[in-house]
């Protein structure tokens, strides 16, 4: 084992090659001239001096050529000293401590290096300091991040349930109806009705299948009608009774929709769509039954079915209904109106005048005439998301936690795992420093919802485009801008909220249209012709001509080729005389509805034809009057 300060030159050719300048190597000479030991050995100095030089040079930790330069200079220095007659020991003693000498020489030599090298060193040092600072800051953030846990002070799920009454409720009957529907995976035994079948009209390709499904599912239909007569839905999120009921009935296809008991304080967002989708299936079955009843000229059953569908929709508006639940409720209502409009065009003759009036009154009474959406459950939903993501400092604020990033993943639909993923563990502390705190996120969401509500105050023809578009535009700008990451929670959860108001307005327009259509049909029965204007329906058949939600003026009406056309001027706010848009009104998204004038949204030339449905001939009388084709 070689001593670190052994001044013997390297013997192996490999070591010599390592210290040989390129010029020497090209000449085939392994001179090892870049090894201080070679130079020291060649100088033949006394051992104490040789060791001193090598010790100093080695400790300088300089580059090879610098070491060689220092070695040569020290060799010259001590050789001069010896020539003056001084002894090696004296020279060693006069020289001073080798470590001090090495340090001073190193400092001086480094100063002699190029400015490029110095810039590089400054850069590296700055980088090092930055990295160190970053590491320290990150470590502090990490400690705060990993050792903090969300504080769940409230069980919103339980609170929502406590606000709901369960006495004399419809849900137990619907639950039984859902079980009776059978396993949807077995279409042979338990056929389901598809929404698209209704548009086919009498003699459509699926009319037989629709009639068969209705025949097989009569028990479920009866149970649903019975449930619709109840004053309330009474559905509880995470009710163990549901689970027990499904299990006892061996309805394993429904067990997949089960939710844990409310006492477990599960995320409120997991409760969304737990019942509305199933109720929508029951409503579709009632629509199918109404078609079958109309074909059988059983007007009473048609009235019962549509009355039940409206009740289903109303029941879904329980206390603490989520926005998505409200939208599904409106969609059920909208589907009822759409299919009733189609029935009134195809086979109004199956309904007596009294039955038509009954339907008109029931539609007018839907939700007390107030079709709105409210965001109170949305606020609770957002608060629940925050309490699962943040700590709670007792003053409404808190820091993001590791579990909070999993909540982000859940919102994004990426994962529902409780375990924090490795990537989140790595980047989480950094993200927690960037993402807004609990209070700031909550304030942002509250501001957004407040502005939405303020912007959509009053009837739609008074809405201001700038105001209605501002909240979502503002949120979009934030999400896409440099602060996008900061407001991750509001940006992920809130977009699309404004469309709910438009959807509600669309339903008001559809409701008014259906009531007007019933009045038109009654007028036609009395007079054998269509009225020239809607004013003729007032006050006998209509209290007043309904309003076009796009401009606040009376709803438009015209007769073309003997065919009545009820329409709204539509999104282009231009009366095209009842000419439809190129795209079918029926295929427009559910969120389509009145918007503020000047809103930046797809505008198609043409009107919104409310009645009759496209390609439908209208048979308004009970004596099978020949249909009149619409002028295409």
């Amino acid at each position: 084992m070689r001593n670190r300060y052994d001044t013997t030159p390297p013997a192996s050719w490999l070591a010599r090659a390592r210290y040989t300048p390129l010029a020497d190597a090209l000449r085939g000479e392994l001179s090892a001239q870049l090894d201080p030991r070679t130079l020291i050995a060649a100088a033949r100095l006394p051992a104490p001096l040789a060791e001193l030089i090598y010790t100093v040079v080695r400790r300088t930790r300089l580059w090879r050529r610098e070491k060689v330069d220092v070695t040569r200079e020290l060799i010259a220095h001590f050789t001069d000293g010896l020539e003056t007659g001084l002894r090696a020991e004296r020279l060693v003693a006069d020289f001073g401590p080798p470590e001090t000498m090495a340090r001073l020489i190193r400092r001086g030599k480094i100063r002699n290096r190029t400015w490029i090298w110095h810039c590089g060193r400054m850069f590296l040092r700055a980088s090092g300091v930055t990295l160190l600072t970053f590491t320290v800051v990150y470590a502090v953030l990490a400690a705060r991040f990993y050792f903090s846990a969300p504080t769940m002070a409230r069980n919103y799920w339980l609170e929502a349930n406590q606000a709901r009454e369960t006495a004399d409720a419809a849900w137990p009957l619907y639950r039984e109806a859902l079980v009776k529907l059978g396993d949807p995976r077995d279409q042979q035994q338990h056929p389901r009705v598809e929404g698209g079948w209704f548009e086919e009209g009498p003699g459509g390709a699926h009319r037989t299948a629709l009639a068969d499904a209705v025949k097989r599912q009569q028990k479920s239909i009866e149970l649903t009608r019975a449930g619709a007569k109840k004053p309330r839905l009474g559905f509880l999120i995470g009710d163990p009774a549901d689970h027990n009921f499904y299990r006892a009935a061996q309805a394993d296809w429904l067990l997949g929709n089960e939710t844990p008991p409310a006492t477990e304080n599960q995320p409120l967002i997991n409760a969304i769509l737990s019942a509305p989708q199933q109720i929508r299936d029951l409503a579709r079955l009632l629509v199918a039954d109404a078609y079958v009843a109309a074909e059988a000229a059983d007007g009473s059953r048609v009235v019962d079915d549509y009355t039940a569908i409206l009740a289903l929709s109303e029941q879904l508006h329980q206390p603490h209904s989520f926005l998505v639940d409200q939208l599904i409720s409106l969609a059920i209502f909208g589907s009822a109106l759409e299919n009733l409009d189609r029935l009134l065009a195809d086979s109004a003759g199956c309904l007596t005048d009294d039955q038509l009036r009954t339907l008109a009154h029931r539609i007018a009474a839907y939700r007390g005439g107030r079709i709105t959406v409210d965001f109170s459950a949305e606020r609770a939903l957002f608060d629940d998301i925050l309490q699962r993501a943040y700590t709670d400092d007792g003053h409404g604020d808190g820091r993001l936690t590791a579990q909070g990033l999993n909540v982000v993943g859940d919102l994004a639909g990426a994962s529902t795992a409780d375990d924090v993923s490795p990537s989140l563990l790595l980047f989480g502390p950094g993200m927690s420093a960037v993402i807004a705190g609990r209070a700031e996120s909550r304030a942002m969401a509250a501001r957004f919802l407040d502005e939405i509500q303020a912007a959509y105050e009053g009837p739609p023809w008074l809405w201001d485009a700038e105001k209605t578009q501002a909240p979502e535009k503002w949120l979009k700008e934030i999400a896409q801008g440099p602060l996008g990451f900061r407001y991750l929670f509001p940006a992920m959860h809130l977009p699309g909220t404004a469309h709910a108001r438009c959807a509600a307005e669309r339903m008001i327009q559809c409701r008014d249209a259906t009531e007007t259509v019933i009045a038109l049909v009654l007028w036609h029965r009395r007079n054998g012709a269509w009225p020239q204007t809607l004013d003729e329906l007032v006050p006998d058949l209509l209290p007043e001509v309904p309003t076009d939600r796009f401009d606040g003026k009376p709803l438009r009406y015209t007769i073309r080729a003997g065919q009545p056309i009820l329409y709204s001027i539509g999104i282009d706010r231009d009366d095209d005389g009842g000419q439809p848009t190129k795209s079918s009104n029926r295929t427009l998204p559910a969120s389509y509805g009145p918007v503020a004038a000047g809103a930046s949204q797809r505008v198609e030339d043409g009107d919104w034809i409310l009645w009759p449905p496209e390609s439908k001939a209208v048979t308004a009388t009970r004596d099978d009057a020949p249909p009149v084709d619409r002028d295409e």
Binding site: E73, A76, H77, D80, G96, M101, L104, G108, R111
Partner: protein, 117 residues
């Protein structure tokens, strides 16, 4: 008498530059000349000189080159650069001003170090 380190830190570089004004010199020669010329007062020691020379070189005040000495050995000679001469002139003026001030205070005898009142 050896002077304090702080004084030496200021005087050392000027002393070395002054010695090099007379022509290029190598390390050991500078050490010996300093000790002799300053009566041992500016004897800075071997461990101090070489780092000092490297610093002066880094500042561009001296330049170094290896030459063969009369005794046929390689030595590293240090010589003043143009910048070094300017710095020397400037430092000499500074020292004279200090000397005059010291004379005024009675710290130095008049007529010393060319510091005439």
């Amino acid at each position: 008498m050896r002077i304090e380190r702080e004084l030496m830190r200021g005087a050392g570089p000027v002393a070395v530059l002054k010695l090099l004004e007379g022509g290029a010199k190598y390390g050991y020669e500078l050490i010996e000349t300093l000790a002799r010329s300053s009566d041992g007062v500016l004897d800075m020691g071997q461990a101090t000189l070489y780092p000092l020379l490297y610093n002066l070189e880094a500042q561009g005040l001296v330049k170094a080159e290896w030459r063969e000495s009369p005794s046929a050995r390689q030595r590293k000679y240090y010589a003043l650069t143009a910048n070094g001469k300017k710095r020397l002139a400037h430092d000499v003026e500074q020292w004279r001003a200090v000397a005059r001030a010291m004379q005024g205070l009675g710290v130095l005898q008049p007529g010393l170090g060319g510091a005439t009142a």
